[in-house]
């Protein structure tokens, strides 16, 4: 039983991180109606840059802010060069554009930092937390806990950023109706700029956490693919959706892997979330918290 909880918690913890990545998408989707497939590439790029700078001898305290700056620039540039010319194009076109973007970013990252795996040490070791081991006899990685904590903090911060801050409200306005937003004098391009910058920041954090866990490598880009089911589940425009969805996916994925996997030969975490999400989709196309889609003629 308590093994089940172990798995569940581990799942939830990684779920938190999914939520974090997913938030990156929600941000951009809300603001500019783009499903930014390149988010994963950004994660990879951010992590790689940070580590790269670190390996060049810079302390993390320098490397991370520096990377942050880079990510902001990258975000702004993307918004300017890729998305503005495509504004008012069908979603699917934008989507394909971001696929192209992700290729570009991945290529760029590797062109600069090379293709080999780099380790990242945040000074937290991936060992079970004694306390829990002693008291509840559960093996929960303290790294996971801390990572999750950070992620949770970020998620909270973003949630607040959305609902409370001026820019956040502007952002929601934009999400609801571009024209209206323009008419009440919200400078779209600024909002988008900010959003992409924030997305870059999110990418960096998740990049560092995941990187520290599994090493900074190309596979980080697949985070994007992990986030997709989360969004389908939670709805592309909903912050709570992203959070809950992340948790559900994280947990169910782990559970499935551990309890289902053995019977089918394992490795099902690659597609299980999707199937889950799709089944859900057939029931509720707009996702958990997404607004209902009404088709007019």
């Amino acid at each position: 039983m308590q093994f089940f909880f172990e798995v569940l918690i581990a799942g939830l913890l990684s779920g938190v991180m999914y939520s974090l990545v997913a938030l990156g998408y929600v941000l951009i989707y809300k603001a500019s109606g783009v499903f930014n497939f390149a988010q994963g590439a950004m994660v990879f790029f951010a992590a790689l840059t940070a580590v790269g700078l670190h390996d060049l001898g810079l302390s993390l305290w320098v490397a991370v802010p520096l990377t942050m700056a880079v990510m902001v620039v990258l975000g702004l540039v993307t918004e300017r060069i890729v998305l503005r010319p495509l504004v008012a194009q069908p979603e699917i076109t934008l989507f394909m554009a971001t696929i192209g973007l992700s290729f570009f970013i991945e290529g760029l990252a590797q062109a600069i930092w090379g293709a080999n795996v780099r380790g990242l040490d945040l000074g937290i070791d991936d060992v079970p937390l004694e306390w829990l081991l002693d008291h509840a006899n559960m093996a929960i990685s303290q790294f996971d806990l801390i990572a999750a904590a950070i992620a949770a903090a970020m998620v909270a911060a973003l949630a607040i950023f959305f609902s409370k801050t001026k820019i956040g409200r502007a952002l929601r306005a934009v999400a609801d109706d571009h024209q209206a937003a323009l008419s009440v004098g919200i400078p779209l391009h600024h909002v988008w700029g900010v959003v992409w910058a924030v997305a870059g920041f999110v990418a960096l954090v998740s990049g560092l956490l995941w990187g520290a866990r599994n090493g900074v490598q190309f596979s980080l880009t697949f985070l994007a693919l992990k986030a997709l089911p989360v969004l389908i589940l939670g709805g592309f425009t909903s912050v709570p959706g992203a959070i809950v969805g992340g948790l559900i996916i994280g947990a169910s994925e782990k559970l499935a892997e551990v309890f289902l996997g053995p019977y089918v030969g394992g490795g099902i975490d690659g597609w299980f979330p999707y199937v889950l999400a799709l089944l859900f989709l057939l029931v509720r196309p707009e996702g958990l918290f997404g607004e209902k889609i009404i088709r007019r003629i």
């Binding site: 979603e91 989507f95 290729f103 570009f104 290529g107 693919l225 690659g270 799709l278």
Partner: protein
């Protein structure tokens, strides 16, 4: 300019609905075909076209064209974005393999057909969500296909005939006792298959089924109101598209690689083919070929370029560079085309042709 159309009038609808209504086009196309079927082998026998050209350029080009054609039917004509092309190819390849393996004296072409049909079946199953969902929700669904299929093929040993590494080695291509061994013979084999299937595709897109696809793509509500059944139309698109991809996959395994593992049909391949469609031109048969040619040749030229710069500058660039540069170029090209010419090379070609037809007047 070279189009001299005066006097090429149409006295029957048959003439008017030809694939190439303009005589000059017919001539040029006939020439191209003749060159592909006779000219190339001739040059090869003269040693002008090397083995490498066949194995590394011509054959893959044709196979990718077929796959792109398949995806184009689904995405370009029916407007349903799919990221699972490689999966359907995989189904085609592995199905054909198993038919060959398990049924005594199974003719290879039949095996390919059956492989395609299996792919079509899978396509229909994974196309089902398209009835409820659209846009990139659907893309997500096809992603699931991608992962699920590859996973299945890897995990279920039966598909790979329990080969430890999961790698299968395709049987020989034998038709009427003749074994397609040499790279050139394989090329001709592929060429024949692709030509026929391209013709069939062209016929489909210019008749009712094709119109139904485009109708759904352009304005699904209206399409429904004038009597196209969305379900039927979309699933048909999925089926036909997957069939083409399936056959392409089979050729990929049999005529190109020889030995494949499920991982050979990964997401990256899907993207590659999607790129072919975007760059070549969504909604154009010709575009599929142009796109494939472009994507096949680009890396080759990039390498040449890099080697050249290395030689010229004397600096030796890091080993992985060419591949990452390739990624960057692909990426930026996609973005470029989506922004500048969403209809891809095919449209550019078309515009150029129009110019020639109006010459000396401006377009």
């Amino acid at each position: 300019m070279f189009y001299r159309e005066a006097g090429q009038f149409k006295a029957t609808y048959e003439e008017d609905s030809r694939i190439f209504p303009i005589r000059q086009d017919r001539i040029v196309f006939a020439f191209i075909l003749a060159f592909a079927f006779l000219g190339v082998p001739l040059l090869a026998s003269l040693g002008i076209v090397s083995n490498y050209t066949f194995t590394a350029i011509l054959t893959p080009f044709l196979i990718f064209s077929l796959a792109a054609l398949g995806l184009n039917i689904l995405t370009g004509y029916a407007g349903q974005l799919s990221l699972g092309t490689a999966a359907f190819m995989a189904v085609g390849a592995f199905a054909s393999y198993n038919f060959m393996l398990r049924i005594e004296g199974m003719p290879i072409l039949v095996a390919f057909m059956l492989g395609g049909l299996c792919a079509a079946a899978v396509g229909i199953v994974f196309g089902l969500p398209s009835l409820r969902i659209r846009g990139f929700y659907l893309a997500a669904a096809t992603l699931a296909t991608q992962f699920f299929i590859v996973w299945c093929l890897t995990k279920v040993g039966w598909f790979t005939n329990y080969s430890s590494s999961g790698v299968i080695s395709a049987q020989k291509i034998v038709i009427l006792g003749y074994t397609f061994q040499s790279s050139m013979s394989k090329y001709l084999f592929v060429l024949a298959v692709v030509s026929v299937m391209a013709l069939l595709a062209k016929n489909m897109v210019r008749s009712n089924i094709g119109r139904s696809w485009m109708a759904i793509r352009d304005m699904d509500m209206a399409a429904e109101v004038i009597g196209f059944r969305p379900i039927r139309t979309k699933l048909m698109a999925f089926a036909v598209s997957s069939f083409y991809c399936g056959v392409a996959g089979a050729l990929f395994a049999y005529a190109y690689l020889g030995t494949v593992e499920p991982e050979g049909f990964n997401l990256d391949l899907s993207f590659r083919i999607l790129f072919m469609v975007i760059i070549g031109g969504a909604g154009s048969i010709l575009g599929s070929f142009l796109g494939a040619a472009f994507i096949v040749l680009l890396p080759i030229y990039l390498n040449v370029l890099l080697n050249f710069t290395e030689a010229a500058t004397g600096i030796d660039l890091p080993s992985g560079l060419s591949s990452s540069v390739e990624l960057m170029v692909f990426g930026s090209l996609i973005i470029f085309f989506l922004i500048v010419e969403p209809h891809g090379l095919a449209r550019l070609w078309q515009i150029g042709k129009e110019k020639l037809r109006l010459w000396p007047f401006p377009h």
